[in-house]
Amino acid sequence: MKGEHTEYRVGVGASSILMILVALALTALSLLALGSARNTAALTARNVEMTEAYYQAAAELQQRLAAIDQAVLRYRQQSDAAFDETWFSACGVEAIWTENDGGLDFLLEIPAGERRVLRATGAAYPRGDERCVLKTHELLPGEENEQDQAGLNLMGIE
């Protein structure tokens, strides 16, 4: 046994197998990186889309509030007509009106993209210190979204 030694040699084909493995690993990593980047881009695009839709809706809401305020001021300054829905319709203001004590409550609902709705409620007064008061301003998911969320209740908790 003395004088024997084991000789390790790299056989023909070993480097090819190693190259194939390394190339496959790097290809897989690059494809994963590309997939991740594409997903991030898609998520960012959706975020941009939803943000733009929200701010468009918020802008329209502010414009309608301005129109309501302007209509109330015009009523106070000029009109002897009844302070009701027809007055605001005549002024070109679109809203849902209900009577309250000494004034009118209004409800504005504006689509904010992705089935969401921007809802605002407030009150307009024909006299007094305040003309137009905004009471609530909320972004609500649409009805179908609520159903989707109900479907995600995996634990069945009410």
Binding site: T40, A41, V72
Partner: protein, 132 residues
Amino acid sequence: MRNSRGNMLLIELMIVLLFFSLAQVTVVQVFAAAHQQAMSSRATHTALTIAQDMAERMHGANDPAQVLMDNGFVLADDTYVLEKDRGFVLQVKLSQLSQPAGVLRTAVFTAVNGEKTLFTFPGVSYEGASVP
């Protein structure tokens, strides 16, 4: 025999290196595309965050222009511009509509990356005036 085997190994190594190099050219291109897309998404997201932040700050401010100036925007040709080394330019154009009942202020936010428009949205706030 040993010499022939050594030559075969050398030839194989050369072929392996050639194919490996060719494969890596493709892989590096894929990595570069992924990096480019990730940077673009990051720039858009950063621009969107800054724009939303500015829109909300300006909504409650008496002087929207001052809010922009305080946050690094520079006035150029009626447009407030934020240009930093982030891969985008954020532009804000202010306007206002005065009516007897109050003032409707509008700020249009636009983010651009070179020739490409990343997004644009309006930030509108209404301030009623006290009229006797």
